[in-house]
């Protein structure tokens, strides 16, 4: 909860913020996170705590591209923040189509179908996190383009005005990115996250098949010419000598850039296999890191590894967010990397040096065959970690009662020795779980006062290493959406991962299940923390004080309002940035698991949510896009 002094400090800093600074910000939303700095700050002026109660639906659009997995098609996971550019809204869909809409009416202007096969080749679902936009500054066909990636690694470029393919890009407008998948190619690349556009360069990562193989394609960052599709450079994150024994450390989520410094900041994921590292005990310094590269050359400028020898799949889940921090009268260009383990790492973005103390603390050691656990892990205690990840939530009395003590017995039975307790044959309580305290939505930052806003989940999971011989006997379904059995082929262990729950499906750990917090990044002080959203099980809602696990993230506006969907209860909300108090909400078809887009079109401010759902939260999917504006 907010303290009186923290509230006063935040309120004062809001009042003192120079309006000129805000007006310098854009109020378009031209990329996944709104700008290349991933601040998720929108300069819209009319949406304030006093006015958002008057929000109404401007329009609603159905893409038609949705599946719940019960038919022939895999389920869809639509986490695509819409983009607003060229006076148009562009949506990418999980059927790998692009849809261009009129921002004022939601009327369709054109659609483009990549005709990609609708097969879940790598991920357990058809996933899409949107499209990217580029313009040359000249006029003519394909001088403005929209890019869409597909599950089978095609990157499509189409004209932003007409939806026609741009023939000059790669092979008739389609780039086969899988042509560069030549090492340990046990699965194809999947382009689920749109590229980051910096100048005339597309910076592209890819997703793979998680938890399946020990030896997998080594992760890399590809820089591609936005006009021609030519590969400009490629940088790999796995040391060459380890490539025969491991792989990935890929970039599956959004990236950030600072064009002035000429750097791109890559959130690099964990090496394979994810939950056992006995074949990769040599250092892999770029894995599970935020790594800065020169945009022109791909040369690595610096790297900060936030998990040593990652055996928890605590891969870097979101783009770092840029912020300028005031310290001793000096302005320091910084970035904040939110992590699955709940730490917020604040680094000097020129050098990678931490701006708050980071402690290397001893962590529990593994007993798994061949495993050599890292002796320490970096703990960032300032700013305070989100979602209180250092303390395992207690057993929830209600779930324990309903299960006649099952939860208490589980607590005694399974291993837990603090955060970073290794996966084990005995079964390990895993907190924060694999979906993380934070995920792809990341944080939002108000650059006027270096205030950070973040939603966090508190999910406890159970992970068990299953010896290979035993795993081969298991007939259960393989791999779900972040749960179930996964083989980790080539290692001595398969895994079983599930939420820690009782027979009725109730979580065994005590609420809150999700929170929303704000931090002053100049001082590292937490300004407030409050439960966010409502948990929902079989339709029944929990009380507000329980909060909800979340996927997706916030946007903060110049008017002092935070917009956030993300919760289980399928509501999209406006919060007061000063306190986290709910100001407005609306019920939508499913959890809105992407950050919204907030922009000004023809003098009117809009908030647009893509409502896709995600079975990690609850079994509900949708194809709904909803736009809000103030009553006119």
């Amino acid at each position: 909860m907010i303290s009186r002094t923290s509230f006063a400090a935040l309120f004062a800093s809001c009042l003192l913020a120079a309006p000129g600074a805000a007006q310098a910000q854009q109020s378009e939303w031209t990329s996944f996170h709104g700008d290349v700095g991933s601040t998720k700050f929108s300069n819209v002026q009319t949406l304030t705590p006093e006015t958002v109660g008057d929000l109404e639906r401007a329009w609603e659009y159905r893409t038609g591209d949705v599946a719940d997995g019960s038919g022939d098609l895999p389920e869809t996971v639509w986490s695509a923040t819409p983009i607003y550019a060229n006076e148009t809204i562009y949506l990418g869909t999980p059927f790998y189509r692009i849809i261009a809409l009129d921002p004022a009416t939601g009327e369709e202007r054109w659609t483009y179908d990549s005709e990609s096969a609708l097969e879940a080749l790598t991920q357990p679902a058809l996933k899409n996190r949107g499209v990217a936009y580029w313009e040359s500054g000249q006029s003519g066909q394909c001088e403005k383009r929209v890019y869409l990636g597909t599950m089978d690694a095609e990157l499509h470029a189409v004209d932003a005005d007409t939806g026609e393919r741009c023939a000059a890009f790669a092979d008739g407008g389609v780039l086969n990115v899988n042509q560069w998948n030549t090492v340990n190619d046990v699965f194809p690349f999947s382009l689920l996250q749109p590229p980051l556009v910096v100048g005339d360069t597309l910076l592209l990562g890819w997703a793979g098949k998680d938890w399946a193989y020990s030896v997998a394609p080594p992760g890399n960052l590809l820089a591609i010419d936005a006009r021609t599709g030519e590969l400009l450079w490629e940088t790999s994150f796995i040391p060459e000598e380890l490539v025969p024994r491991t792989g990935t450390a890929n970039i599956w989520t959004a990236m950030t850039a600072d064009p002035e410094l000429g750097m791109v900041y890559a959130p690099v994921s964990s090496p394979s296999p994810n939950y056992w590292g006995g074949d990769r005990t040599d250092p892999i310094p770029l894995a599970t890191s935020v790594t800065a590269l020169d945009i022109e050359t791909g040369e690595i400028a610096w790297s900060f590894q936030h998990v040593n020898h990652d055996i928890w799949d605590y891969d870097t889940p979101s783009a770092p967010s840029l912020v300028d921090i005031e310290r001793d009268g000096e302005t320091i260009p910084a970035l904040v990397q939110a992590t699955k383990q709940g730490f917020l790492f604040v680094l000097d973005r020129r050098t990678g040096e931490p701006l708050f103390d980071i402690e290397e603390r001893a962590t529990p050691q593994s007993t798994a065959e061949g495993e050599v656990t890292a002796p320490t892990q970096p703990f960032a205690m300032t700013p305070e970690p989100v979602g209180n990840p250092l303390e395992l939530p207690g057993v929830w009395w209600l779930a324990d009662l309903v299960s006649f003590g099952q939860c208490s017995r589980d607590r005694e039975k399974y291993l837990y020795e603090g955060i970073f307790t290794p996966p084990s044959e005995q079964g390990t309580l895993f907190f924060p779980g694999t979906a993380g305290a934070t995920n792809w939505g990341g944080v939002a930052i108000d650059p006027r006062n270096a205030t950070l806003y973040v939603n966090a989940s508190r999910i406890v999971q159970l992970i068990r290493l299953i010896p290979r011989a035993e795993y081969e006997q298991i007939q259960g379904p393989e791999g779900g959406n972040e749960e179930g059995y996964s083989p980790q082929e080539g290692s001595p262990y398969g895994i079983y991962l599930t939420d820690w729950s009782n027979w009725a499906g109730m979580p065994c750990w005590a609420p809150p299940f999700g929170t929303f917090s704000a931090y002053n990044l100049n001082t590292g002080e937490k300004l407030y923390e409050t439960p966010f959203g409502r948990a929902q099980l079989d339709g029944f809602y929990g009380p507000e004080s329980w909060g909800s696990p979340t996927l997706g993230g916030p946007v903060v506006t110049a008017g002092g309002v935070v917009f956030l969907g993300a919760s289980m209860d399928s509501r999209v909300r406006a919060l007061d940035a000063r306190s986290g108090a709910e100001l407005w909400s609306d019920l939508v078809e499913a959890p809105a698991v992407a950050n919204p887009a907030v922009f000004t079109h023809q003098g009117v401010d809009y908030v647009v949510f893509a409502v896709g759902g995600n079975s990690i939260l609850k079994p509900e999917v949708s194809d709904q896009a909803v736009a809000y504006r103030l009553k006119q």
């Binding site: 079989d538 339709g539 029944f540 809602y541 399928s570 509501r571 019920l587 939508v588």
Partner: protein, 115 residues
């Protein structure tokens, strides 16, 4: 026909309609449509309405009437509680009133009890 149960039947019928709306969402998304919770609430409302209809018809032997009323009060209360946690507050209120009316029905004046 037992008139005092007709009014209660009307309440239970309204509750059933509200439960159908919550579960099947003919008027749009309710946030709980298609869920097990909403289905349980619908079943609870239907059971309450059907039992009340039996009482209203006068076909329940006197010795079973009190037992049936007790079971219906329980069904209505559980449905009201379900409605509350489903955030279907109209359903919760109507079913709470139904439970209250069923509870009071045996004490109503006899002139209300026959047609």
């Amino acid at each position: 026909m037992h008139q005092r149960f007709l009014a209660i039947l009307l309440l239970a019928a309204i509750g059933t309609v509200l439960a159908v709306v919550a579960y099947a969402a003919p008027l749009g998304n309710t946030g709980v449509d298609g869920t097990i919770g909403a289905l349980l609430a619908l079943i609870g409302a239907i059971v309450t309405a059907a039992g009340t209809a039996l009482l209203a018809s006068g076909s329940v032997p006197r010795r079973f009437a009190s037992l049936l009323i007790g079971l219906l009060v329980l069904a209505a209360v559980l449905t009201a509680v379900a409605g509350y946690f489903l955030m279907q507050f109209g359903l919760a209120i109507v079913m709470a009133l139904t439970a209250l009316a069923l509870l009071l029905a045996p004490f109503l004046p006899s002139r209300w009890s026959s047609a």
